[in-house]
Each structure stands twice: as structure tokens, then as C-alpha cells.
């Protein structure tokens, strides 16, 4: 029997674990002499250190925020770029676009293929005030999730403090941090709602979308027999539909948790979103284009997706 090892960083109650579990269950049900063994909660690899073993065949599968590998493939930084994705349905269209095809070509060079596509969204929290427009972050010590966001926030006048996400809670509590930006589910799982005054969730418009696909080592996939590959593909189709539905629910669920904790909920308007994007164009987009060969072409491909 063939056994595939799948690693990810989240708890077993997280949507991303469930996506992996659906594929594993479907493969098991297909009875094709194939099992997928899941190592959740970073019990095998540290979150950012999963891409290297995946591409070298030491790990078979992972659910992985692709921008974590941006240091190895700078093109992947486009998968966590402010304002590039407008909402979850737009994200789904991006997944089927030629832009994603280009990224998949790059992954193939690393012997990696995508099994399940998926984006998750996030927002902002402020310790003392709401953060909706660029002027709101001026002078605040801010912790951002992702390099491109750090560049945009710095351009908006925020002071960037880098620290592990596990330190956000303490840093907010003692006043080291005044603002933070990360995914809806991280805000909830780190109980940030206990420390902040205001939450700006991903709603009709949102700045922060992160591509977090289920990846597989390409050689490992090709070495499977036809029935096994078909089982994985069938599981993946089911998982991807589930992932999109759940991604939408995550944002609303996080709003409920923050509301219940008495946190003020703010909404970003379309004008405010546009203001952020103008700043991003002059900072993170510009930086990306300057540092990545063919960067402009890739960015245009992404922006052209309606």
C-alpha cells in the first residue's frame, strides 16, 4: 500500500485541516490501496519550512500559504498582494485564470503541483481606534502578515514591528503594538478580540487575501496508478467546493466572535479600498515589479482577471 504524508500548521478544527481531511477520506473510500496520513498542528515541519521538503520529495502533500515560499520564488509574493483580490468569488475566478497557470508552471519547476485551490481573507484590528483608511495607521506600531502588506502599511506611515503571530496577543496587551493585520481565523484562534477596540473584517471589499492551496509533490503524484490519481482528483474537486463555501463563512464567523466580545466592527468603503490600492501600487506593487523578472507581466495578468 502507498502512504502519502500530508503536513500543515493548523489545528484539526481549522477549515484547512478539513480540506485535507476530505481528500484523505475520499481517497480512503475509493479503496485504491492508497492512504493519506495527516500531520496537523505543525507536528512535522514548521509552517514556513514545508515547501523545501515538498519540492525535494521528502514530504508528499501540504496545505501551504504559497507566499511563504516567496523567498525562493519571488513570483509567489503575488499570492498575498494588497487589493489584488476583491472578494471570494473573484478569488475563485483567479484560480481558473492564466495567471494561476503561470504560477503552476513555476511550481512545476519545483516539482510541485496544486491539488486544491483556495483563498482565505483577513482584516485589521486597532487597539484604540478603527482602521479603515490609510491615514488611520499613521504613527501606529503595526504588525502585518506578509511582506507586501508591511511595505504598503509603511508607505501609509505606520511603524512596522516584526514579531511572531503568537506574540501579537501579549504585545497588544502591554501596548507594544497598536494595530495588526492577519487572517480572520488567526484573529479568532489567538483571541485577539480580548485586546482590541475595533475590528475591520473582510466584507464586500477586503484588502487581505492569501492563497493557501493544498499542494502535492509532482513526482509522487505521477508515480501513482490511474485509479489512485483519479481518487485524489475526485477528492480534490469535492474539497475545493467546500473550501470556497467555508472561506466565505469564516469572515462572518469572525465578526460574530468579535461582536460577542464587545468589539466595535468597522467597514471599509470602496473609496477607502481604492485609496489603499493607490498606496500599494506605489509601494508593494512597485517593489514587486522592480525585483521580479517578468513581474509586470504577471501583475498585469492578475489584474486583468475580472
Amino acid at each position: 500500500a502507498t502512504e502519502l504524508r500530508l503536513s500543515h500548521q493548523w489545528s484539526t478544527s481549522d477549515v484547512r485541516h478539513k480540506v485535507a481531511q476530505i481528500v484523505a477520506d475520499e481517497v480512503a473510500a475509493a479503496d485504491v490501496d492508497l492512504t493519506i496520513k495527516i500531520f496537523p498542528s505543525k507536528s512535522l515541519f514548521k509552517p514556513r519550512e514545508q515547501y523545501k521538503p515538498l519540492s525535494r520529495g521528502q514530504l508528499d502533500m501540504t496545505v501551504f500559504p504559497l507566499s511563504y515560499a516567496g523567498g525562493q520564488r519571488p513570483e509567489f509574493n503575488l499570492t498575498l498582494m494588497p487589493g489584488l483580490v476583491k472578494n471570494h468569488d473573484h478569488a475563485a475566478r483567479l484560480n481558473d485564470s492564466p495567471f494561476m497557470g503561470e504560477l503552476e508552471k513555476l511550481m512545476a519547476e519545483d516539482d510541485v503541483r496544486v491539488v486544491v485551490h483556495g483563498y482565505l481573507a483577513g482584516g485589521f484590528v486597532g487597539k484604540d481606534k478603527c482602521i479603515t483608511k490609510p491615514e488611520d495607521v499613521a504613527g501606529l506600531q503595526t504588525r502585518a502578515a506578509g511582506k507586501a502588506f508591511e511595505q504598503m502599511l509603511a508607505a501609509a506611515g505606520a511603524s512596522i514591528a516584526s514579531m511572531a503571530s503568537s506574540e501579537i496577543y501579549n504585545a497588544m496587551q502591554t501596548g507594544v503594538l497598536q494595530a495588526a493585520n492577519t487572517s480572520s481565523s488567526s484573529f479568532v484562534s489567538y483571541r485577539i478580540y480580548e485586546q482590541v477596540k475595533c475590528y475591520t473584517p473582510a466584507a464586500d471589499v477586503a484588502l487581505w487575501f492569501m492563497y493557501q492551496p493544498l499542494l502535492m509533490n509532482k513526482t509522487a503524484y505521477e508515480e501513482l496508478n490511474d485509479a489512485q490519481r483519479a481518487a485524489i482528483d475526485a477528492g480534490a474537486a469535492k474539497a475545493q467546493a467546500y473550501y470556497l463555501e467555508e472561506a466565505k463563512k469564516q469572515d462572518a464567523a469572525s465578526v460574530e466572535v468579535f461582536k460577542k466580545a464587545g468589539v466595535e466592527i468597522a467597514n471599509m468603503t470602496q473609496d477607502e479600498f481604492n485609496a489603499w490600492r493607490e498606496i500599494a501600487k506605489k509601494s508593494s506593487y512597485k517593489n514587486f515589479v522592480e525585483n521580479v523578472p517578468d513581474g509586470q507581466k504577471l501583475l498585469d495578468m492578475a489584474l486583468s482577471v475580472e
Binding site: 515541519f45 514548521k46 521538503p53 514579531m163 506574540e167 501579549n170 501596548g175 507594544v176
Partner: protein
């Protein structure tokens, strides 16, 4: 091979390898490499340096050398002696004032040092000769300092608490607070035993005898204690005043301690400074190497599904939670007899913590119980780090006397664990009060 059987095999092999006298870190790497090679194939070895590097690639680890520098720089001065002397001058009328002063000084010093040997050495260098001079039994003189020194890892800051926090992803700030009250309980128990034992095996005169100090003398020593208060205050302000995160605070403490040592205690001689840095580097590298090697070891355990299977298996056992806790304590105690605290915590905490939590125990309370177990290991044979420190400070006290003198303090620690089981609030109360209920 069944993962549980494999786990037992790994345990036996690890014990055999470590008992061969190979260094703990190398031993862990050897066992990890061996099992990975046999069960995961040659290619898995490629991953070892990456995991090794990845374990060290963690900002929180910075606090380990920083807190060690704090202890080492202050221990290199006569600050420890000043501290217990000040206490002694003020406690002159209290029966057993000298041993109480020494234990109090240990506790205060522990609040600046993250490591136990540093605490032991700092207070013991002057404290032990003074106690013997004034007629305290050798066993009490040596035992009280050996035991008092172990407070270094219970009273914050604590290197082992940091390691526990990193291994289990619990809040280091909260862990630090959890150790405060239990540390005081232990000091109280140590003091009670010291006085009883001096009365029983020494004499009442010893207990009552003390220097007589004028008020002027009492006041004169106070300025020498001020640097301590300044450092403790500086660290507290940095940590809880919105300036620094817990891991960053350690650097403030290290800089303050080095500064105090250089300016107030005139440690501006380069050679003396190098001794402080050399000792800190040696201890830090030793601990960080074990942390990285234990990371590779636990990758092997997880990769072979041993960690997960053990947790699952214990979950299916239908035992009383207190029976479970007693078994865990016995395991930690035995492991602590032989292995340094850092190694025990790194290898056992990730496996034990989920079990402990699912049995309904608090992870911060458990950290305190685990730390007290490790403290016992430091003053019990066959490998008791503090015993050797005392042996180095007072070479004319036979090791056997130190050992026998320390045994009652081991019982004090066991008693402290029992007290903590009866009143878990002693550990969890302060963090809940300061930081609110646990995240």
C-alpha cells in the same frame, strides 16, 4: 512495526546511548539519525540540518543567553554576598536569621538569574563559609544553598520556563508569573526545615547567635542592594509597561546587569568581563545545541508516528486523572535524576502536555509541577548539577554530607508538589490576576 512498540524501542535505545557518556545533544542526534535511516530511508537524513537550523531560527530563544548573561554578570561580583549580608543585618533578631537570609538572598537572586547553578554559586560563595563559621551544621549550610539555588529556574526569569513555553507554545509571560508564588512557598518550606534541622542537630545558640549591628550599619548596607531592585524594576517595567515583549525583555536585563556589574562593581577589567562572557557563551551554546538536537529527535518521533500514538494510547487508558498525574511525576522525577532539565522538557513536554490538558489540568500549573521535578533532579544523585557547584565552592565538605544534607530539601519539594495539587490556584492565581484568564 507498531508505533508504540517502536516508541519503547526508541526509549530503550536513547537511554543506552545517553548512558554511554556521549554528550546529550550528540546522543539525541545519533538516535534520531539511526531511526530515521532505518524507518524513513536515507533521504530523510537530508532534512536533519534544515530541522536543526529551523529549531534555532526562533526569536524567543534569544532570551536564553540573555538571562544567562544576567545571572553570570551579577554572580561574578560580590553582589550576592551584599544581598544576604543586608538581609542578615536586618534579620539579626530572628532565630536562624543567617540561613533565612541566605535562602531569601537565593530567592531574590533567582529573580535575576534564569539558571540554577548561577544562583547557587552567587549566594553560596560567601554564604556557606559564613554559615559554617557561625556553627550551622555542614549539611544545612550546603543543603540550603543547593536547594535555594534551584529556585533559579522556578522564580522568574527562568530558562527552563522559556524552553517549556517554546516547546508547548504557551505564553512565556504567563509561565513566569505562575512560578512566583510556588517559589515563595518553596522558600518558606526550605526555611522551616533549615531552622528545625539546625535546632535538632546543631544548637539553639547557633540559631540565636548573630552579629549585632547598629542602625547605622543596617542603613549603610542598603545602597548596595539598590542595584538589584533597579534591575528587577527595570525588567518589570520593560515587560509589563509596553516597551518590550517577554523575549525582548531579557536583553534589557542583560544590558542592565552587565552595566551594574561594570559601573557599580567595577568589573571593567577586560579579563573579568571575558570570564563572564565565556561562561555565558558556554552555558548558552550547550543549551541551544540540546534544543536543536532535541528538535531533530522530536521530528523523528513525530515522523515515525510515535508521539501521536503515545498520546492516543494514553487517551484510551481509563485511569483516574490523579493516578495519571502521579505516574507523570514519577516519570519526570526519574528522568530528572539523570538528564538536564532542558533535555527532559524538550523531549517530554510535547508528548505530555496534550495528555495533561485532556485530563483537565492547567498547562501553566503543570509547568510549575514539572519545574519543581526538575529542581529535585538538580540536587539529587546521580547527576545533580547544584551538588557539584556546592562541591566546587566548599571542597572540604564531603560530597556525601552535601548529598545527605540536601535530601530533606528534596522532601520539601515533593511536599510543595502535593500542596500545588491541593491548591492549584497557588500557580494559576497570579497570572490570572495580572494577565486575565488564560488564552
Amino acid at each position: 512495526m507498531d508505533p508504540l512498540l517502536l516508541g519503547a524501542t526508541v526509549a530503550v535505545v536513547t537511554i543506552l546511548v545517553l548512558f554511554s557518556g556521549v554528550s546529550v545533544a550528540n546522543g539525541l542526534l545519533i538516535v534520531a539519525a539511526g531511526f530515521l535511516l532505518i524507518f524513513d530511508g536515507f533521504r530523510s537524513l537530508e532534512l536533519m540540518p534544515e530541522i536543526f537550523f529551523g529549531k534555532l531560527d526562533n526569536f524567543a530563544l534569544l532570551s536564553i543567553p540573555m538571562f544567562i548573561i544576567m545571572g553570570a554578570s551579577i554572580a561574578s561580583t560580590r553582589a550576592g554576598a551584599d544581598l544576604y549580608e543586608a538581609l542578615d543585618r536586618w534579620l539579626t533578631r530572628v532565630p536562624g536569621g543567617l540561613v533565612i537570609s541566605n535562602l531569601g538572598a537565593c530567592a531574590l537572586f533567582a529573580a535575576m538569574s534564569g539558571s540554577s547553578p548561577a544562583t547557587c554559586a552567587a549566594i553560596g560563595k560567601m554564604g556557606i563559609p559564613e554559615m559554617r563559621k557561625r556553627g550551622y551544621p555542614d549539611g544545612v549550610a550546603a543543603g540550603s544553598i543547593a536547594a535555594g539555588g534551584t529556585l533559579g529556574i522556578l522564580i522568574p526569569p527562568s530558562v527552563t520556563m522559556i524552553v517549556y513555553g517554546i516547546a508547548t507554545e504557551t505564553s512565556i509571560g504567563r509561565l513566569f508569573l505562575a512560578g512566583v508564588v510556588p517559589g515563595m512557598v518553596l522558600v518558606g518550606l526550605f526555611m522551616a526545615w533549615s531552622i528545625y534541622s539546625t535546632w535538632r542537630y546543631g544548637s539553639v545558640e547557633t540559631l540565636m547567635r548573630s552579629g549585632t549591628y547598629t542602625l547605622a550599619q543596617k542603613l549603610a548596607i542598603l545602597p548596595r542592594v539598590l542595584p538589584f531592585l533597579a534591575i528587577i524594576l527595570g525588567v518589570l517595567v520593560a515587560m509589563y509597561g509596553g516597551y518590550a515583549t517577554p523575549s525582548e525583555t531579557a536583553a534589557v536585563g542583560a544590558l542592565l546587569c552587565l552595566g551594574v556589574a561594570i559601573v557599580i562593581y567595577r568589573l571593567w577589567n577586560l579579563k573579568a568581563l571575558w570570564v563572564v562572557l565565556r561562561d555565558s557563551t558556554r552555558e548558552s551554546v550547550m543549551i541551544l545545541f540540546i534544543i536543536a538536537a532535541a528538535g531533530v529527535f522530536s521530528y523523528m518521533l513525530s515522523s515515525l508516528f510515535i508521539t501521536q500514538s503515545i498520546a492516543e494510547w494514553i487517551g484510551t487508558l481509563d485511569v483516574n486523572r490523579w493516578v495519571l498525574m502521579i505516574c507523570i511525576n514519577l516519570f519526570l522525577l526519574v528522568a530528572g535524576f539523570f538528564l538536564p532539565p532542558v533535555a527532559v522538557i524538550l523531549m517530554s513536554a510535547p508528548i505530555l502536555l496534550p495528555i495533561v490538558i485532556s485530563a483537565g489540568f492547567d498547562p501553566y500549573w503543570f509547568a510549575v509541577v514539572l519545574t519543581i521535578n526538575m529542581e529535585i533532579g538538580l540536587i539529587s544523585p546521580p547527576v545533580g548539577l547544584n551538588l557539584y557547584v556546592i562541591n566546587g565552592i566548599a571542597p572540604d565538605i564531603p560530597l556525601k554530607t552535601i548529598l545527605v544534607g540536601s535530601m530533606p530539601y528534596v522532601l520539601c519539594m515533593v511536599l510543595a508538589i502535593v500542596i500545588l495539587c491541593l491548591f492549584p490556584g497557588l500557580a494559576t492565581g497570579l497570572p490570572d490576576l495580572v494577565l486575565g484568564p488564560a488564552v
